[in-house]
């Protein structure tokens, strides 16, 4: 489920590689075993994983770019394109599903004017449907960044989004 956005070439050229260097310096052992944590830190810092950064990572660690790319595309957590300031994750787990997540899903798409998996034009929100987030007791549930919101109704969802 990769987002269907073409990377913006102009912003990509401005990728600040000094940040990359300070992050990579924190890892004494940038072997394959550290690859996932390194990618997690890099994504934390850049908000996504710019291609330039992956190329630089490959050059400085000797891990082939194809291997890095393989890992990045395997895990749902990693992103190759810039994403919104806030990540809206709507749970599509079983409990949320039977308690009305599909309606909330339509409503969010409507409010944000994007499809699932996309980022709003102003880069404020990226909207994703994710598997169970472990708060089934309050279904339907969504997370915005690290914050959980439970027992959603369409109206409540709208109010929450408005306050961001």
């Amino acid at each position: 489920m990769k987002d269907n956005v073409t990377p913006d070439k102009t912003s990509a050229r401005e990728v600040d590689l000094s940040r990359f260097r300070s992050i990579i310096a924190k890892y004494s052992d940038t072997t394959l075993s550290e690859l996932v944590p390194v990618l997690q830190s890099l994504q934390d810092s850049y908000g996504y994983l710019p291609m330039e950064v992956l190329e630089e990572l490959s050059a400085s660690t000797g891990i082939p770019l194809s291997k890095i790319y393989g890992v990045v595309t395997f895990y749902a957590q990693f992103h190759l394109e810039p994403r919104g300031k806030h990540i809206v994750k709507l749970c599509s787990g079983t409990a949320c599903h039977i308690k009305g997540a599909p309606d909330i899903e339509k409503r969010i798409a409507d409010i944000l004017q994007v499809e699932e998996g996309q980022t709003t034009q102003d880069y404020k929100f990226t909207y994703k449907a994710v598997a169970c987030i472990g708060a089934c007791f309050l279904a339907p549930v969504m997370m915005i960044d690290d914050r959980y919101y439970g027992k959603l109704t369409e109206e409540k969802t709208e109010n929450i989004l408005k306050n961001y």
Partner: protein, 547 residues
């Protein structure tokens, strides 16, 4: 914090913590983990401010805890020693709770739980709690998980201390074997046996991995244990490491669980500063340390070989077994992987002894099981009951029945690898064997209740979509089989089903089950098989109705 040098140091610390505890103080325990989703943190902060404003700090204490179980009433709090239980608390209630309940002992009716139309103020009278047996969840919701002293006060780390001071590795394994504990991560493999294999495997470097991936939709017990009582998992890992001869542990948690990651990191740091992790633990010569790793979001990474691949920095794809991780796991070294709940059982078994543990449960399944109760049921939340408890007791006595006067239709057990259990089996005592007989699995304990408005074909489609999305794609039966089954289910739901579809579905289900590489594919057809078996009429109706 001063390091604990010996087992006696630990015992002295415990005694002094217990004696320091002020008996007169009123304690307000509030869940700030799961309940956060409905504003628990704001309520907690309001309490803090109010206690300060009224200069009540020497009389009243507010403690942030993990899950207290009755999540449907979130945010919930318990006031001790009275044992008053309140739910749906908001910031606006704080002042009144302090002035009336805390200072005057009065009960505020509107915040109490309702049972058969009556308000029930005290936790001891609430059926949801009365009918449970909390062993693994003994601390969850009653201690501050960020404070190691809270755990130590309640005999925390006494089990590892007992093992280090008087038991050999063989003794520990013997105790776990005779407890009858079976893995809570899905397959139900005997835990002691697994440890024995890892102990006997050749190699001076061995690993202990805690599987905290919990990818099953509908399961949240591992999350609750990690967030609410992380030290019990760490202690379980210490005991395992001592038994199999390992020096390094890894806890693999999913990134969707930020609170669990935070609490685990605090717990590991605190255990390390007290000398309960690291070199020469409690002066015994035993060394063990733990690293917390965040998963990167793929359901299949919960499968043990995939999890290992993921820790090694590769794509998290499963490998054929054998070799099993116990002989060749992480970096090719002997590795013992256990589920969170399995590990949290261990301190209880070692501290209380195997005999007391095995007195709970059924012939083949010992101890208790935590169920994550969700869906169309009144009391959603975490429930811990002895193995052998019936679904009826869980759904109706503890869960309070089905909301809006609807009928129970089915219980979905075991997540995507499980099945849907119809009403006629409500009285079956639930253990590993009996759930299998009725076409589901215990799985990790996700229990989603469905009422008569749920379409079972739609549920089958839902799970198939999940498995098809999450299939790693390595083996053909799983990649293509799930895809084909999903197509057929979608077609039936769209009113374009054909008569032959049902036999085709069964056939595809069999093939996918028998020829897939890992558990994901092998079990992906279970929701289809069980709904076809118990709810065939729904499929037939949809096909007959076609336009």
């Amino acid at each position: 914090m001063d390091k604990l040098e010996t087992c006696d140091d630990l015992e002295r610390l415990r005694k002094s913590l217990v004696s320091e505890e002020s008996k007169e103080k009123i304690r307000i325990l509030i869940c700030t983990t799961g309940c956060r989703a409905l504003g628990a943190e704001e309520v907690y902060r309001t309490f803090q401010a109010e206690i300060e404003n009224q200069s009540l700090a020497d009389k009243v204490e507010i403690i942030d805890t993990g899950c207290q179980g009755l999540c449907t009433r979130a945010p919930v709090l318990t006031i001790e020693p009275m044992g008053v239980f309140y739910g749906r608390v908001t910031e606006n209630d704080v002042h009144e709770i302090i002035s009336r309940t805390v200072l005057k002992g009065e009960v505020i009716e509107r915040l109490c739980y309702t049972q058969e139309g009556k308000r029930i103020p005290y936790i001891k009278d609430i059926d949801f709690y009365r009918k449970q047996k909390k062993l693994v969840l003994r601390n969850c919701g009653s201690i501050n998980p960020k404070n190691i002293n809270d755990y130590i006060k309640r005999n925390g780390y006494a089990a590892i201390s007992k093992a280090l001071s008087g038991m050999s590795a063989e003794d520990v394994i013997h105790e776990v074997v005779s407890s009858g504990l079976r893995g809570r991560g899905g397959a139900g493999f005997p835990t002691g046996k697994k440890w024995e294999l890892a102990k006997n495997a050749k190699g001076d470097v061995k690993y202990v991995i805690c599987n905290g991936d919990e990818g099953d939709p509908g399961a949240f017990m591992d999350r609750a244990v990690l967030e609410g009582d992380p030290h019990s998992v760490i202690e379980g890992m210490l005991i395992c490491a001592y038994a199999i001869g390992s020096g390094k542990g890894i806890i693999y948690v999913r990134e969707e669980y930020p609170i669990a990651v935070e609490h685990l990191n605090i717990a590991v740091d605190n255990a390390r500063s007290l000398g309960l992790l690291g070199e020469n633990i409690l002066g015994s010569g035993f060394c063990f340390d733990i690293e917390v790793k965040m998963g990167a979001g793929a359901f299949v990474c919960g499968e043990e070989t995939a999890l290992i691949a993921s820790i090694e920095g590769r794509r998290g794809m499963p490998c054929p077994r054998p070799p099993y991780p116990s002989t060749s796991g992480l970096w090719g070294k002997p590795t013992n992987i256990n589920n969170v709940e399995t590990l949290a059982n261990i301190p209880v078994i070692i501290f209380e002894g195997a005999d007391s543990y095995r007195s709970i449960g059924t012939e083949t399944s010992k101890g208790t099981k935590i169920f994550a109760l969700a869906g169309n049921v009144n009391n959603t939340g975490l429930v811990e009951v002895p193995m052998g408890t019936s679904l009826r007791e869980i759904v109706f006595d503890i869960g309070g029945g089905i909301p809006k006067r609807k009928q129970f239709k089915a219980a979905q057990m075991g997540g995507p690898s499980g099945g849907c259990v119809p009403e006629k089996y409500l009285d079956t005592p639930i253990d590993y064997e009996s759930v299998k007989e009725i076409g589901a699995i215990m799985g990790s304990g996700g229990l989603i209740i469905m009422d008569d408005s749920t379409s079972m074909v739609e549920i089958a489609r839902y799970f198939m979509e999940f498995c098809q999305n999450e299939s790693c794609g390595k083996c053909t039966p799983c990649r293509v089989g799930t895809q084909r089954m999903l197509e057929i289910l979608t077609r039936i739901l769209a009113g374009e089903g054909k008569k032959e579809d049902l036999s085709l579905l069964s056939e595809l289900a069999e093939v996918t089950r028998n020829s897939s590489l890992c558990g994901l594919g092998q079990t992906s057809a279970n929701p289809v098989i069980s709904t076809l078996y118990y709810f065939q009429n729904e499929y037939e109706e949809l096909i007959a109705e076609k336009v």
